[in-house]
Symmetry: C2
Subunit: 391 residues, 2 copies
């Protein structure tokens, strides 16, 4: 039986500002935090092999339960030894609950004002779970809190997340209260099911609660306090980066942080612009996941230290530019290829374009996080923030 008191988190240092240096322990390895977690939606961080992720300093990747459940199915993945063996990645994996995709793909758009049943879409939410139509083949599925945990356990995830009501922005106070009420009902079901399932597991995954509550201070506080009653391994902050202004997001995280215990890690869901990383590290966030670097890479947006933190390599002005993408970068792409070549690859939609750009963008993020950890050690976060033009 799982020892609920086992410590899966080590806080190494905390600055007066709130920035923390820590270690998160999983059965597939230790994650040095603050850390950025790239997204490998379908069990692959697009275009790269796991050996490259390791070389880049990627410590953990984020897989999406919704997608893997629908294709190829969690049972097939379980029969193949779990997502680690399936995707040839021996490091830690974090999975979401599937809820976010059910909500965002099930609705015509991510707006609370949409008709939830119409235009070939379907989404029916009850305290039991969410009934929805697959975006792949239109088949009907029912995602319950228990089912979500069961899928994540089948995948062999190292950090599982409970199903939550993924509220769009903005919500009225009564919508927000109803949403949080449901999130909490689903949390209890998820937690009970999880505890029951891992009873006989020698190395159970970590379980993070998700703080919701939309943009209402009392609800955010209430959510955090509710979750603190349980011996969860950490806290994720959800319902952010859903269309709200940036300052709202900072405000909400500011409300939440004092409510969270220092002896548990905090993950910020779906956030990862460069200024966000700096700002939220300073507020005490330990881990981030975001599609930004990998999605940007496929659009030809190459991360650089200067605002707006990318250059668009598809622009004509780079057609004969002999320089590397980023002269200050020591990644494989920058060491060996010119902007002109990348421009050419993107213009011709060559597969190598996405690979070389993804490699660079993830190198940019892992380098940034390594430097942030070093800056926390040496109390030089402000200098680093200046170098990245954040302050």
């Amino acid at each position: 039986m799982r020892t609920q008191t086992r410590n899966r988190w080590h806080l190494k240092k905390q600055l007066p500002s709130g920035a923390r240096l820590g270690q998160l322990f999983t059965s597939h390895g230790t994650i040095e935090t603050p850390a950025f977690i790239p997204v490998g939606t379908k069990g692959t961080v697009k275009s790269l092999i796991p050996e490259e992720l390791k070389k880049l300093g990627v410590q953990i990747y984020f897989a999406n339960t919704y997608h893997l459940w629908l294709s190829p199915g969690d049972e097939i993945i379980a029969s193949l030894g779990g997502l680690n063996q399936f995707s040839h990645w021996d490091g830690p994996i974090i999975t979401d609950s599937g809820g976010f995709q059910v909500f965002s793909l099930g609705r015509a758009s991510f707006s609370p004002h949409d008709n939830l049943v119409g235009a070939g879409k379907l989404l029916q939410i009850t305290d039991q779970g969410a009934k929805f139509r697959s975006h792949l083949d239109g088949s009907i599925h029912f995602l319950t809190p228990e089912k979500s945990i069961a899928i994540q356990l089948n995948l062999g995830s190292d950090i599982v997340l409970p199903l939550d009501d993924c509220s769009p922005y903005p919500l009225t106070p009564s919508e927000a209260r109803a949403s949080l009420r449901r999130t909490n009902i689903w949390f209890r079901k998820s937690w009970t099911y999880y505890q029951d399932q891992i009873r006989s597991s020698a190395s159970p995954p970590l379980f993070f609660g998700i703080v919701q509550g939309s943009y209402y201070r009392r609800l955010r506080q209430q959510s955090a306090r509710f979750l603190r009653q349980f011996s969860v391994d950490g806290f994720a902050i959800g319902g952010v980066s859903v269309g709200e202004p940036k300052e709202k997001m900072r405000e909400a995280v500011n409300w939440i942080m004092p409510e969270l215990p220092e002896n548990k890690p905090r993950h910020l869901l779906g956030v990862g612009e460069i200024d966000d990383i700096f700002d939220f590290v300073r507020l005490g966030v330990d881990t981030f996941d975001c599609v930004l670097p990998t999605r940007f890479a496929r659009m030809g947006k190459i991360m650089i230290k200067q605002r707006p933190w990318y250059l668009d390599i598809t622009k004509k002005k780079f057609a004969a530019d002999k320089r590397p993408l980023d002269s200050s970068c020591s990644c494989y792409t920058c060491q060996n290829y010119s902007r002109a070549y990348l421009h050419h690859l993107f213009k011709n939609r060559e597969l190598l374009a996405y690979r070389l750009a993804t490699y660079h963008n993830l190198f940019f993020y892992t380098t940034l996080m390594r430097r942030i950890r070093q800056a926390i050690r040496t109390n030089t976060l402000d200098n680093l923030a200046k170098e990245y033009e954040v302050i």
Copy 2:
């Protein structure tokens, strides 16, 4: 000035059957033959990096003059140090003349009966060259024999090919005669221009003549004899794999081979199914280029030793198959991933699918060629052909 007698070819062994073991010397390295040359149309063997090509045993890649001329342009590539530096490949590169694409993309289809001007297409051929409409933006271009060589020199190719009249199949005798006449006129212009241009070059590229003549024995013989008058570095066989039955292709190569000197290498253009490789190696072909392994890879066709020499990994039966693509294969893909994972990647059009499959398929070809060279050394080609189910 170039020493025309410099030997760029060393014939190490020749079997009574005709199969040869040789070495082709270029300024970017030596090619052990028989060799397979993968295609990197736009200066990239799709999805792979040059370090992987090296590791796979790829000795040389084939780039397309037509595509690189139109995008990004040979002058941009020259200004960036040539195709080697541009594409970060320090080995040899062979380029075609651009003619094949002008003819095949300029026509509505690769048929002599098409209206050559119509449906947004344009192709006007004279003894001076070929006027055509770019498939990219509709702009008009004029490819002359001299221009083709100039582009290839700008690219920094190691083996250049002259512009030829790329006849479809079948041709009437008079069409075939007219086509060969034009090929020979263009050859003289190409050769004169090439000789003039390389006069002061310390390390000029090799120049191969192209044997044409459609499916008429006398014309094929006439073409080979015409080319033998010039001190070309080798011979390419063109006008094959253009829709004719396989036995016709074998017949034509059989006509040509006795006409070619033993002390020059022979390249077969655009050919590369597994039985073709064995058959033409035995007829004395030294090098092959073909899009087959890389194109098949992107379609989910995974090369195996058993006829029809591939399995279609997109088929549903592989969805839960734990085995590697090919249990007898020691490539990176087969050592680390299951058929189920590749099936999943292909089904979801994940970028990694094309990369892992391309890696395997090229490994299959380089392994095959290495084993063919070994079999020529040890006189065991028949055994090898049986293993690959060719005989």
